[in-house]
């Protein structure tokens, strides 16, 4: 399941709903991304996340389908926020449930790695010196590539 929303999410409520009534689940992993107050050597007052409505949902659904094809998942969830966020705010939730932990860990890592390079989001950082768009990071491409060899 994939959701793109402005509002915050409740991690406990999300994972309870994800696995409710499913007795085949033996392991559940989650990744929660938060807004840091520092980027390199400068502090951040806030961050505005822009996205491409329609394509975002399409890409996230494709990434999730890829994870479902690679690992035996009982359930998975991606919730990604957009709009103005402040340090400490939650940005993204990835959750994967599987009969065994290995698949849950690997699929969760795969989803966040791929999401960072495939989902059409852009971050505008607000700092004391003004606002600037965050550049894509080579390390994110590297993180994605490690799944291509599989």
């Amino acid at each position: 399941m994939v959701r793109v929303q402005q509002e915050d999410f409740d991690v406990g409520a999300e994972i309870a709903r994800l696995t409710e009534g499913n007795r085949a689940v033996g392991g559940l992993t989650i990744f929660v991304g938060l807004v840091r107050d520092m980027a390199g050597d400068h502090s951040i007052d806030a961050m505005a996340l822009e996205h491409y409505p329609g394509m975002t949902e399409k890409k996230l659904a494709e990434i999730e389908a890829e994870a479902q094809a690679r690992w035996p998942l009982e359930a998975s969830l991606i919730v990604h926020r957009y709009g103005r966020l402040e340090p400490g705010d939650r940005i993204v939730l990835v959750a994967c449930a599987s009969p065994h932990r290995d698949a849950a860990f690997d699929a969760c890592r795969f989803l966040i790695d791929w999401l960072k390079t495939e989902a059409p989001f852009w971050k505008l950082e607000e700092t004391e010196a003004g606002a600037h768009w965050v550049d894509a990071r080579d390390s994110d491409d590297t993180a994605k590539k490690r799944w291509l060899a599989d």
Binding site: G33, L49, E50, H51, Y52, G54, M55, K58, K59, H80, I91, V92, I112, L115, K116, T117, E118, A119, P120, F121, W122, K123, L124, W133, V134, D135, A136, R137, D140
Partner: protein, 83 residues
């Protein structure tokens, strides 16, 4: 053709979307970007560094040789930074 712009491309061009009719000899993404860059200083500035621009046609990432047609939705944006 529906054009959509995001992040700093949107800011430099000065709008988030518009409908344009490129000339008939614009048949690929590369030709479309070259034509857009002639439309004004904002477009020229946004497309000055072509390597910094990513393109999606009908919401799929494509390269510069991908064909474009009149009823396509074409989006231009910088490399993505989600998560």
């Amino acid at each position: 053709m529906k054009l959509r712009y995001f992040a700093w491309l949107r800011q430099k061009i000065g709008r988030g979307e518009e409908t344009l009719q490129p000339p008939a000899d614009v048949t690929t993404v590369g030709e479309l970007l070259a034509w857009l860059a002639t439309l004004g200083p904002g477009y020229a500035a946004a497309l000055a560094d072509r390597k910094a621009v990513r393109v999606a046609v009908n919401q799929d990432y494509v390269g510069t040789n991908h064909p474009v047609a009149a009823d396509d939705e074409v989006a231009l944006f910088p490399p993505v930074t989600g998560g």
